[in-house]
Subunit: 526 residues, 3 copies
């Protein structure tokens, strides 16, 4: 079975609309809907009162219709009564501005009151709906991604640093604090990377992202621990997101991603990349067959630009052929109000979506086995955002371009993934490379593999310390990637081939047009 | 008689300059000058002292010369001594930053101290100059437009909401707070739309503008109530301005607008639009013959770009032929200092302006009677600024383009205006349409009128709730304006004609080039 | 002897690297290195402890090798332990945001704690290293430039204003506070130009820059007073810098500038301009032969864009032929971490730099004698940043373009410089002209000199009050520079020649292409 459906927010519509919703869903082959993502203020109208009856009725209707439920905890949007009582649960930006309610995602995960309130509503839902047969999956929160710079986060950051580094000397060494007199005498002197006079320390910025990924994960795990059954959360992709999804994949029962291509121009290539990456995360985290779910995508449009009729089936196929266990949209029926009132929804497109949904009834998830791996690392994505780089590569865009030139199937894998079983490993623009990554790539090639490595790779270690020449033995070149990135190619061969152990390394010294050199780089089609 | 003159700030020059100013004015046909707009710190040098003697002398000189005075209350720029004593009278921006003095317009109308100080200086002026025969008009404040997000404004907003909605359930329904868990348990939980994590609620934003228009109006009315004679304030146009001028027009004795075209390219079309709109506001508010005054415009330039010599007469004609009772400039003589020291002024251009001024002595205001109305609504202007619209139309620019394609004369009218007497009503991009507007348009067409309605109209109600298909009966089409706005036209007829009652509706489904379809849309020239 | 070397930060590298550094330096002809610029947290790891042994060893190694030292006080980057104890020593921006440590330059010079700590570390260095023969020069701080808007700075500003103006009436007259009701009843009412509602007062902004230049100078002088030997600080150029370098030049023993051209396109012209300007500052401040030092420039690159091999020698020649006493780079060896880890350094370029360095051993500083002066004034640079100018000239760019069209040699001199001995004085875009400047130019021409004056000159006085027609007697034209600047030339002669006294004035009414009129403007090559 393939999951087909989307976010369903019946609480945004009069109850009289519900039966027709359910009926339309049935006829459209919908078999899973995500309920309750933004229902906190409806489920708990005040600190001391809960209202579950409406949700009882929704679940009953869905159960009767044989439609499964992905039940969400609503913690991504705390109600006004809560944030009014706990202004210190609101996030603070770099400038020290404490934000206010009025949107979504406005929370600080370091706030004890917010953590307690989150676990409380999750526990109430768990208690009430444990064993409800309609529920196929629990969905914690929504699109974790809010960074905060408040004093509580500062305290948490210091604890995290103490755990990571042990003593200030190790921190100073890792961050290179001799530069610009930033040496810390104790962890107590460390702050989040708040507004400062000039350029910030890149390693400081990177560690704050890592800390925040863990702080958010702690919030997730606290809810997960009280929920029965299978639990997930929907990963949102974007370069501002302080979540290391490869790492988080180990803490979910099903990897679920929201996929919103950046533009309509190359949206199919973007979807293919996301799909191969989600499967890569799942497999590296030990999920059987690398199963994953597209939890949200936009029906019939990209960034509100309408797609040609009939594109939905091709999009679904892009996901399913890459191992998706389901195809879900945001959302079933748009609300009449709110900031996303014009976000495309399924109902107006049922002429196109219903045949698609029905066609999935007899399908099973595909199992993908690839002999090519492309490495994509979110810590590297963050590292490319360091202040003051000589050139700022769009890491996702560059990697996606390489991906689109590879012969399928391809696994997009995190740096922590095993490379066993691959014959070709492709590494575009992997600016940050730890000693472990260096070792893994050498072991892979030494054992006979083919490695293709792109410009901008191997420039810094996991602390963002420069590592000049760190790839020279592997590529057989004398690397000065920056100057090559920044110069025009001058007729010289941009691709170098070098034997290493039983394998071979092909390296690219400039930001060349991969599509023109695909055969040279990746070989003949298999 | 036609008013001719401008802002006159003699307090920015030594008294020795005044007699020559007056003499030049006389020879240039100047018969009205606005005095005192920014004179608070001169009129009241400290909390306990007033200095009116210099103003006495200015008014005496003007009276002797037979030049009328539009006497301003100076409240748009409180003096440093005041704001130093009352820092809580300074506005706070969305980020919570309390601004400081050092510019103009830096005030919070919700501050009791500021309101009291404003009424006090207005009363002092009224007492001293009531009955002064030089004074033709009182001018309250200047270009109302400062929005504040402080706690006092928050409290005022809550009172306003309570008055508008009665109970929180109605507010929740109007704002659609089920979306993103924004449901308010009480009015106490509502805040101004301050900095938040992500997109704000569009209805929240719109109601804050409406509230602010009323809060500013309260400040105006408090002054008006103590002034003798005819009272006005100069409306400033701009999409940031939280003032509903159609509504305010009912509270002034003469509609006065400041007209600063956005660029030199189409400045004449812009002036024509502003003029027809000012007259429309005046007429809808019951002012005889729709009389209005251009209180400020820039002499000889647009945005500091010099106009060709001789253009001033054409500009004056553009205003006068559309019912203006006067042509006023900012300003008579530029100050030597300050942020606007390079703002063009009348004195250096008297070779051109004096003949113009003298030529107006024998003119009378024109009375305009139009059978065509074009609807322009400032609430709609604000609604087009909602976050996250699929496409952001420049409402003023689109409407002005339509206006420029219509056969004159045209009334530009607010949605609240009666449509009686018009044979053609033109409605471009009226995104927000209340039930009253829907009813008024249908009544107009049913009775035999011709309605031309443009893409982007009728998409939401007065609470910005989507109203899909709300115009279908009127246009005879199945409207999905967004997708059409966002798609290219594909050869199909973009203009649809539909009979409705005794009238006819022509609708445009895309953002087409109106000038190419003017005849189809608006018919043959009368 | 010519100085050759750069910033040397051995504390960013293990001690084992030092001997090879010194050896490489020797063979590259390095004879001066700047040490300790960012070493505060290493030299004083806590409030109560100092660690100088490592610096002792560095200085000993350098001395043994015969390499001179420019020893820096490290106050441009206070350590985290300090700023944690003294959060009020952190600067506050216009919005009232108090910045935090984590970068460099994060300090408020008005903080007593910071001033004391600065003098303390300077005195410790002075005591320990006074008489050390390796030390050729003391280097206070680094690139003074941090503006702060805190309450302490506000208090300092008021004292400064009281000293400058004596009483509020003079201040009001200077700033033109009658405009927009900004009249101050007492100095107590004046604030820094913090965030306000609309345009700020340009004279207020300019005086805050002047005050800040003096506030920073006070911080410099406090350190200078405790240091033995020759003392300097490195001037950084940039339009945000609140330092009047012509004035500061009188307080240094050697004028030292950091030269980072804005782009690679015209970097040689930029260097020539900077060099002639540095010499002009030095000469006007009474330094013998106008000697100056390029303390920092980027080796082998401009803004991280690589220069063609061999360019270094041409760059050095550009400085040396204009009177530089030395050619210094930032920096010897790049750190592996921190925001500038990718900043080009000398070590990787020694193939090119070492021959250059060695070639300088036999050179002496050039003495330049010019009969042409070009006036460049940093107060004018700030004045060009006034809000709301009709056109915003890039003053440095315009002046540099003129400079590049002049026959060498040229002195670029501040407005305060004597014009004696010049036959040609060139004045491009000197917007701000004080009465002293007006008098000096007239005296120069009256005595037989040739003055070439460009559009945009003489528009305001030193308080930024407009001075219409102030150059008419000199140029023989009726000047309305703005309208000419803003209009296209229309075939009319753009250059006017006018006899004045025994001399001649050529004036340019538009922003013409100087290179095409060089012969007309500046005459035949000498």
């Amino acid at each position: 079975m393939i999951f087909f459906g989307g976010d369903y927010n019946p609480d945004q519509w009069p109850e009289s609309v519900w039966p027709s919703d359910i009926s339309l869903m049935k006829s459209a082959g919908v078999n899973l809907v995500t309920v309750g993502v933004f229902s906190w203020s409806r489920l708990q109208p005040s600190a001391s009162s809960f209202e579950f009856e409406w949700l009882d009725r929704v679940l009953a209707l869905l159960r009767e219709a044989g439609i499964g439920v992905c039940l969400a905890t609503p913690t991504a949007s705390p109600p006004p009564w809560f944030t009014r009582s706990h202004p210190d649960a609101m996030p603070v930006n770099r400038d020290g501005v404490r934000l206010t309610h009025g949107s979504r995602d406005t929370y600080c995960v370091s706030s004890p009151a917010y953590r307690q309130a989150s676990v409380r509503i999750a526990r109430e839902l768990a208690t009430r709906y444990a064993g409800n047969p309609a529920i196929k999956l629990w969905h914690v929160h929504n699109e974790y991604g809010t960074t905060c710079f408040c004093d509580r986060c500062a305290a948490g950051f210091r604890i995290w640093l103490r755990f990571r580094y042990g003593d200030p000397a190790a921190l100073n060494d890792a961050w290179g604090t001799s530069f610009w007199s930033q040496r810390y005498g104790s962890f107590e002197e460390v702050l989040p990377p708040r507004a400062t006079q000039y350029l910030s320390n890149p390693a400081h910025e990177l560690d704050y992202r890592r800390f925040f990924s863990d702080a958010l994960l702690e919030h997730y795990l606290a809810q997960r621990s009280v929920l029965p059954g299978l639990v997930t959360t929907n990963f949102v992709l974007g370069e501002w997101v302080p979540v290391d999804h490869a790492r988080w994949a180990r803490s979910v029962d099903l990897v679920a991603v929201d996929d919103y291509p950046a533009s309509i121009d190359d949206h199919m290539a973007s979807r293919a990349f996301t799909a191969d990456m989600a499967r890569g995360w799942a497999r590296a985290a030990g999920h059987a067959d690398g199963r994953w779910l597209v939890m949200e995508h936009e029906p019939g449009a990209v960034r509100a630009r309408a797609l040609r009729p009939g594109t939905s089936a091709a999009i679904a196929e892009a996901y399913l052929s890459r191992g998706a266990t389901g195809v879900m949209y945001f959302q079933w029926r748009a609300g009449r109000s709110g900031a996303e009132q014009w976000h495309p929804a399924m109902v107006p497109l049922l002429d196109e979506l219903a045949p698609l949904g029905r066609s999935l009834a007899t399908r099973s998830p595909a199992t993908v086995t690839a002999s090519t791996a492309l490495i994509y690392d979110e810590e590297c994505l963050w590292a490319w955002q360091s202040p003051h780089l000589p050139a700022r590569l769009d890491y996702r865009a560059v990697t996606q371009r390489w991906h689109s030139c590879l012969y399928r199937p391809v696994d997009v894998v995190p740096v922590t993934a095993s490379l066993d079983g691959y014959s070709l490993v492709v590494v575009p623009a992997l600016y940050l490379m730890s000693a472990e990554t260096h070792a893994a790539l050498r072991a892979f090639v030494a054992a006979g593999g083919t490695l293709v490595i792109g410009a901008g790779s191997g420039l810094v270690d996991e602390c963002l310390r420069t590592t000049p020449g760190s790839l020279d033995d592997l590529t057989g070149t004398r690397g000065d990637f920056w100057s090559m990135l920044l110069s025009a190619t001058d007729g010289e061969p941009a691709v170098t081939t070098h034997a290493y152990g039983a394998g071979v390394v092909r390296s690219v010294a400039t930001d060349l047009d991969v599509s023109e050199h695909a055969k040279t780089l990746f070989g003949e089609p298999p």
